[in-house]
């Protein structure tokens, strides 16, 4: 007997267009967008590091 036939049905796939899924997507994207703050910080640190390194090498 196939184990696949016996497998308990899992949760139905989430409809990405359901209102709650769309709400969650907006929240997730807002959270993901916060990474640009870190990117800015990394950019400043890398720039400062490169400038200091170049100054030392002069």
């Amino acid at each position: 007997m196939s184990t696949r036939d016996d497998a308990a049905p899992g949760p139905a796939p989430r409809d990405p267009l359901a209102p709650d899924a769309l709400e969650a997507e907006i929240r997730d994207d807002a959270r993901a967008e916060r990474r640009v703050a870190w990117i800015g910080l990394v950019g400043v640190l890398v720039t400062a590091g490169v400038l200091v390194l170049l100054s030392v090498l002069r």
């Binding site: 990405p16 267009l17 209102p19 769309l22 709400e23 997507e25 907006i26 994207d29 807002a30 993901a32 967008e33 916060r34 990474r35 640009v36 703050a37 990117i39 800015g40 910080l41 990394v42 950019g43 400043v44 890398v46 720039t47 490169v50 400038l51 170049l54 090498l57 002069r58």
Partner: protein, 497 residues
């Protein structure tokens, strides 16, 4: 003050003018982290309006089947999405491709054919927009290009912003998406991250958008009707014109970075030049048509658009628009100072290029981190964007004597005094020389025997200087009143999404 001192001050001012675009670039990039909190997502809400997609098509048979199929498989309610393909009297198999797709998706894809074509994209779009507006079914209208591939979640990520009635239009991030990109397409891929993922985030923060991307313009019906129900046909930058009208009519324009659209971009310098001269001439027209907007905050009209007149937005716009002018100013300033006050020239040169080094490192780092997919494909083009020789100038500004003493010394050579003088002048004039040499890259691309040279030359001279030269060419063509006929960029269906 003596005449000599006055001359030195005037020349220093010219050098400072050359620093303005660098400072504007740093300012834009400094605004990007603010987008973490200051974005429109907090006012967005689930919203799935009935959308009509207008696809202008002139001989797009090679690319339409894929883009239409991807539209049909968007994660968007099928009963809320219709596609109008406006066939601009194509002479290839475009009608057959569209009709075949229409038969596969009855009622969802419509083929509209113009009897007479070739008038340009705006005319083609207006044909479709008129058809869409005639039916009350349409609540929002998406303008796209025939070759672009929408990621499955992209449309719904755009429509959510229209839940806020203050928003008139939304645009997406157009990413260069060729399957096997060459050097030019890779440079464009990097440039698109700077011009869209980075600059449009900054413009979201400023509350003033320069341009809705031509391949991804979503308008609410209310906005489309308010701006006259049609696209302007008198400029070469109809998307920028529409963006300005929307904002001047009091509605916001939002950039949604999570909505990703893949596009095929030119992979030769000649094709790039043709496309960008059209864009740059469009910007010259827009700058003149909206001359009452710039630096006029508070905006004298009662209904919105005031952010377009802010100093910060004006600085961002004109730092790009007048880049060739500032390059000429800085070069004249430095070369002039070299002739009348050599020490001041050296200090000005080093200060200007130190600033350029800081901007280069900061902008390149942030750009590569903003879009990892593009960074994987185009990191080398990002590093060489200003040109290999510009990196030599940067190193000369940072390490005095490196190229005059240290490097020749390695080979047992010594630079003469005259040689040093010419070398110093070449360093001072490099930004202008690069801009003037850029047409060589295009010329090589057009000659069969020299075509192989064009790509190495592009890396040596730099993609940035090539774009400056194109802007300069656009000034000249506009000033001479050269023909402004619509000149379509050829697409071959290389996008892989």
């Amino acid at each position: 003050m003596s005449a000599h001192d006055a001359l030195v001050v005037a020349l220093v001012v010219l050098v400072l003018l050359g620093a303005v675009p660098v400072l504007a670039g740093i300012l834009q990039y400094a605004l990007i982290p603010v987008h973490a909190w200051r974005n429109h997502l907090r006012d967005a809400a689930p919203h799935l309006p009935r959308v009509v997609v207008v696809v202008p098509a002139w001989n797009e048979g090679a690319v339409l089947a894929a883009s239409l199929e991807r539209l049909m498989s968007l994660q968007y309610p099928p009963d809320r999405l219709r596609v109008l393909v406006v066939d601009d009297a194509s002479t290839d198999d475009t009608p057959d491709v569209v009709l075949a797709k229409a038969a596969q998706h009855p009622g969802r894809i419509v083929h509209l054919r113009r009897a007479q074509g070739g008038q340009g994209k705006a005319h083609t779009l207006n044909h479709g927009i008129e058809h869409a507006l005639a039916d009350r079914w349409m609540q929002a209208l998406l303008i796209m290009d025939a070759d672009v591939i929408y990621r499955p979640d992209s449309l719904r990520k755009m429509t959510r912003h229209l839940a806020d009635e203050r928003v008139g239009a939304v645009t997406a991030f157009i990413r260069e998406g060729s399957g096997r990109p060459g050097s030019v397409a890779r440079f464009i891929g990097y440039e698109y991250v700077t011009a869209q993922a980075a600059a449009r985030r900054a413009q979201n923060v400023l509350g003033a958008m320069a341009c809705l991307a031509g391949g991804a313009q979503l308008h609410s019906r209310a906005n489309l009707e308010a701006i006259g129900g049609r696209i302007d046909t008198t400029t070469l930058a109809e998307d920028t014109y529409t963006t300005f009208l929307t904002q001047l009519d009091g509605r916001h324009v939002v950039f949604e970075p999570a909505a990703v659209v893949l596009a095929e971009e030119p992979d030769s310098v000649r094709a790039l030049w043709k496309q960008r001269v059209r864009w740059a001439r469009g910007n010259v027209q827009i700058t003149s048509m909206f001359d009452h907007v710039w630096f006029r905050r508070p905006w004298p009209l009662r209904r919105g658009g005031e952010r377009l007149g802010s100093w910060t937005f004006g600085l961002v716009w004109f730092s790009v628009y007048l880049l060739p002018v500032s390059i000429v100013a800085a070069t004249v300033g430095l070369v002039g100072l070299h002739l009348v006050a050599q020490t001041t020239a050296l200090v000005a040169f080093r200060s200007l290029w130190w600033l350029a080094v800081a901007a280069y490192v900061f902008i390149t780092t942030v750009t590569l981190l903003l879009d990892r997919e593009t960074a994987r494909r185009s990191w080398f083009q990002g590093l060489t964007f200003p040109g290999l020789l510009a990196l030599v100038v940067m190193s000369a500004a940072w390490v005095p004597g490196l190229w005059e003493e240290t490097v020749p010394g390695v080979f047992g050579l010594r630079m003469t005094d005259d040689g040093r003088d010419w070398w110093q002048l070449a360093l001072y004039a490099w930004p202008l020389l690069a801009m003037l040499l850029a047409p060589l890259v295009r010329a090589c691309d057009g000659v069969r025997g020299l075509r192989l040279l064009s790509v190495p030359l592009l890396y040596v001279i730099g993609f940035g200087p090539v774009l400056c030269a194109i802007t300069l060419d656009a000034y000249v063509k506009q000033w001479r009143g050269a023909s402004a006929a619509w000149d379509k960029t050829e697409k071959t269906g290389r996008v892989v999404g």
